[in-house]
Symmetry: C2
Subunit: 303 residues, 2 copies
Amino acid sequence: MVKNFQDILDMAKNKERKIVSVAAAHDKGVLKAVKQAKDEGIIKPILVGDKNKIELLAREIEFDLEDIRILDVEGDKEISREATKLVSSGQADILMKGLVGTSTILSQALDREIGIRGDGIISQVAAFDLKTYPKMLFVTDPAMNIAPTLEQKEGIIKNAVLLTKALNIENPKVAALAAVEDINDKMQATLDARDLQKSCEAGNIPGCTVSGPLALDNAISLESAKLKDIPGEVAGQADILLVPDIEAGNILYKSLTFLAGADSAGIIIGTSAPMVLTSRADDHKAKFNSIALAVLLADSLNK
Amino acid sequence: MVKNFQDILDMAKNKERKIVSVAAAHDKGVLKAVKQAKDEGIIKPILVGDKNKIELLAREIEFDLEDIRILDVEGDKEISREATKLVSSGQADILMKGLVGTSTILSQALDREIGIRGDGIISQVAAFDLKTYPKMLFVTDPAMNIAPTLEQKEGIIKNAVLLTKALNIENPKVAALAAVEDINDKMQATLDARDLQKSCEAGNIPGCTVSGPLALDNAISLESAKLKDIPGEVAGQADILLVPDIEAGNILYKSLTFLAGADSAGIIIGTSAPMVLTSRADDHKAKFNSIALAVLLADSLNK
């Protein structure tokens, strides 16, 4: 069982170092996370951005750049483009967003010529290490897809399963969340959740067990699930929480990080190489955790 | 500033005792909460339901029923009806749901003849006492309205303001939540949040300050709000969180209770008298906290 980010780091240390292309590395939090990941032996970075600023900030945090490749590039779009090309050309394994807007780097990453588009849907998976839950908890998709259709939700689950597989979590338990456990025609989330469970039972979402609709308490509390007589192996011990839409997902993400005191990480899946796409509000620890996740996913995808 | 449920209890103790009509009181958790509220001097209960069971359970928890009025009624619908009539006839100030289904008691409470319908929308407000937030945090509506319209959201905010007013929270800060801070035509929550702020600025939602759209972190973390340069007095210090829909609200409610370790309470507002409508999963502490909230609201509404 993967209990926390230390377990994930320990696993990442047993893999070959991955090369991370950092877009707009001229940011202290980003450099701190990159330095830590390099010091832990899990990555080798390539820094793209304002070289002078990068060197200045690196000195402040005692980050020795001697062996580090730096591409001195100007302009957010150009920086994102060069960083992306390092990945699409095979020179790097992971793309990391630094001090650049999400839409700017995404438009390059999803560019049909130089990008790293995959075949399916692109989604975010957030990972949480909570004192109040005995194992890692994954939430998807809190950031990329606004109001996914049933088909898109299947793809979102498949992406999350790629990540849990990379973490050696066998047959993850997926809770398709809604506000209630009962099917209600007026609540699309309950219909989708039921259909996702059926689709999984029919073999269309392999490598996991999907159950739904489940309210959050019945997904993560065995006591609640028992009290309400919720059947199935997912209830009370979910690994992955599929949220109905971006509002529910983002609010859950923020509540776990800011009010439940969780350590967190975020990763984009569905591109041909993993992307670390944390926000400015995330501290360097979250960025570092995200790199560790990306290392494991990149390793698993390359097999 | 109201910091926690102890503050709320202290305030309730300074009011006249309220009479609570308990529908289906034959439940240990419900009786425990009622006993505690009676012992604290904030209520006088009338117990409706299976008298034998009530007496049996009361003995188990050493609840002396000598001065307590008990209505021996059979059948969930009849119990709910009698309990509601006690309130609509003015014999009780508060209606409390015991061991009976939510829809069963609501259909009686909203009955046009014997019910306690109000003029506006009916909504739930949940209250949270969190170690990670310096004051009480209110969330609305996590339970009653599935996908409220803009107009309904205005009513939901007004109901929450009735409650904060009863708690002497002057001009509460209301954050209209969304997944992002920017207006996005594809995200109805952001449009509604913007319109709610405008409507409040135009004087249509008196007694509070509404700001939106705000992501949850920018609503409750001053640091996040500062980092993202979010203007206004609400950012980082919201009292009331208006959620976009029932899924986001329910998931937030459950995450605060089950993963952030919050003490909680829930109350229905918009009926002519407050309703305590907690779920089976809520412990007796949550039920007790809810009674204390209802006492303050009933006191404020009767003025």
